[in-house]
Amino acid sequence: MDKILRINMGAAGGPQVKSESVGSYAGLGGRALTSTIIAKEVPPLCHPLGEDNKLVIAPGLLSGSAAAMSGRISVGCKSPLTGGIKESNAGGMASQMLGRLGVAAIVLEGKPKEGMLYKLSISKDKVEIKPDNSLKMLGNYAVAEKMKAAHGDKVSCISIGQAGEMKLTGASIAFTDMEFRPTRHAGRGGVGAVMGSKGVKVIVVDDTGCPVRSPKDPGKFKEANQNWVAGLRKHAVTGQGLPTYGTNVLTNVINEAGAYPTKNFMWGRFDTCSKISGETQAETENARGGEGSATHGCHRGCVIRCSGTFYDKDGHYLTKQPEYETVWAHGGNCGIDDIDAIAMLDRLDDDFGLDTIEMGAAIGVAMEAGLIQFGDAQGAINLVKEVGQGTPLGRVLGSGAGLTGRVFGVERVPVVKNQALPAYDPRGIQGMGVTYATSTQGADHTAGYAVTANVLGVGGKVNPLKAEGQIELSRNLQIATTAIDATGMCLFIAFAILDQPETFQALLDLINAFTGAKMTGDDVTALGKNILKLEREFNHKAGFTKEQDRLPDFFKKEKLPPHNLTFLVKDSELDQVYNW
């Protein structure tokens, strides 16, 4: 990937496209590239929706190659939700296509004339941006249909729904999947609002005529890729658990642990969670859509296939298999145990372009405020529809849990850096709370997801049963995760590389054979640290202090049933996470 496409939306005479060499950004991909560009080029104190902010869309380092699992795409900007740096990533088809087109990043900069909406098209021979106000206030599904009619189904789309156009801070960016459905989202941090502020409704990516990217050493690459795939397929999580049940397999387990945030984090167990568990969901999908409906990849080259297809009771497509976080946010967090209603909420979120975690958390806060009752599935659906319609109430909810809590005077608002917490109560799994509190991204379960610490040896080996060590573990996890986010690899590879050293080696071999580098585990660690350092510095300049690296007070004061725990990690310990 040798070029960066810069689209100046505020240029005199209308948006201008400039293609330039990657220059000093050479060798970077995914999160490494988005965060480096944002840190170097965006004034930290700028308004996130103003002309000085930039939206960077970058495929991973290996995207566009034949490397399995390399199809993640990163989106970076200054977040309108957190006020800090943001990287949010997604699956879908665009990453592989941009990689094949040789595009290391698309950078949307400046600000267009008010009221104009644009379509950006990228193909082998040309890049063009044209106004298209016929797309105004369309949902992502309608946008995808229009693009398919205009360009055929061999292209992919990156789009925003109504929420992005309204610049709501819960807005996501959608990426079409293998079936041309806008189901893969860079959800977190309001990245869709930044795309909306740039006036870009959709980016059509067409890689027709572009070959798969060639590795520096094809022989070694092929061998490493074979070992890589074999390692993923033989592991119980990546080869069996995820393909069979998807990520929602976690519902029963987290609930049993008493760490399943229920009814806006009031309880750690949801009595009827088995009705919305991954096991029930998979059985439902297979019964309605035929065996195999619960197993599907989100992009070409995925061998884990943790997704699936959700059909309604009449057997019609409704949405992709809702993820664990979605099922929790709209389910247990809101006291809703109706899997069909949750799937409908997922569909609406995808169509309007909303982060499912942020929306579920906002509705949970609204339920606590008494707007509707916990467990009111139809009421929750109606609230999400208000967001799509852009009513005043909908705009409040679509701006996230933090704002909803302020508007309705709710004290128990589960956010860090104004971003809603995901589906693991930090009073139950306290080490997760360390990552929620200290991540550069706001509360984010994927910020410390790459369970590779003892493999990489970051910070030395940790005794698993030692009472202490949560700070070290969280630090190591955040470093490893940041590095993997740069490769474009799906984070679900983490288990296989944790348990199987030969699979971790296969990943390193894959990267080295492709790039010609000689990367070691130490280099992976250094890469992760460098990115985190850049992100921390940006946040510091944007006004963040250690006081933002904290969980909300109620986690320290309110005991979480059934284990009656509070969050016990001291502030002074949290402040040690970045002391490496």
């Binding site: 999580v237 658990g241 306290q430 080490g431 369970v451 949560q470 284990h563 016990l568």
Partner: protein, 205 residues
């Protein structure tokens, strides 16, 4: 139906459809066995789960909602709940693993100390089987028969899509044939029911 004894509901279902009932096992079923055993002893000796399976395939075990690292040390008591899961994805999966590298991150919900257990009369223990463990061990338990609360069973039947009845070839309660579709109306909601499943043979003709 005798008011004193536990009713036995036997369902004969189409081949391959037994998996539809597996989510029931995640809600928990009751097992009555002699007291005085560790979790490992209880699961292996009393429930017949192979020791190697328990050590290798079962990666996360909860006793009364707390993650266990040493199955041979934690003791089972009357009213205990044991939940079994295969390896799980993500950080949470790694954190909850028995003896895993991230166990320190959940020490507040780890099972501490062995506890005690008195040998003697039978104890009632709730077993929950999740994910691949349910898929692999569940059919054996379901064919052998599991004690499930009638209300849970009624709710399970009532939540199924139209057409669920088509998987039922026959049903009986204590040997008395009943209509498969009417099972939720017939079984008592306030008592335990012994549910046993039988895969039907090939359809005649």
């Amino acid at each position: 139906m005798d008011a004193e004894t536990t009713p036995r509901l036997t369902l004969t279902v189409t081949p391959g459809s037994l998996s539809r009932f597996l989510p029931l096992l995640g809600q928990g079923f009751t097992v009555q066995r002699p007291a005085g055993a560790s979790v490992e002893g209880f699961l292996c000796r009393a429930c017949g789960i192979a020791r190697d399976y328990l050590r290798e395939r079962v990666q996360t075990v909860f006793l009364n909602g707390k993650a266990i690292d040493d199955l041979a040390a934690a003791m089972v008591n009357d009213g205990s709940t044991i939940a079994l899961s295969a390896a799980m994805p993500g950080l949470a999966g790694a954190v909850l693993r028995k003896g895993g590298a991230y166990a320190a991150m959940r020490r507040q919900i780890s099972h501490a100390g062995p506890g005690d257990s008195r040998a003697g009369g039978p104890v009632s223990v709730t077993i929950k089987l999740f994910n691949l463990v349910a898929r692999e061990l569940g059919p054996g338990f379901l064919e052998q028969g599991v004690l499930i609360h009638g209300a849970s069973l009624q709710d399970f039947f009532r939540r199924q899509d139209r057409g669920f009845g088509k998987i039922g070839r026959a049903a009986d309660i204590d040997g008395r044939p009943v209509d498969f579709e009417k099972v939720p109306e017939i079984i008592p909601g306030n008592r335990l029911v012994l549910l046993a499943l039988r895969p039907a043979g090939p359809h005649p003709g």
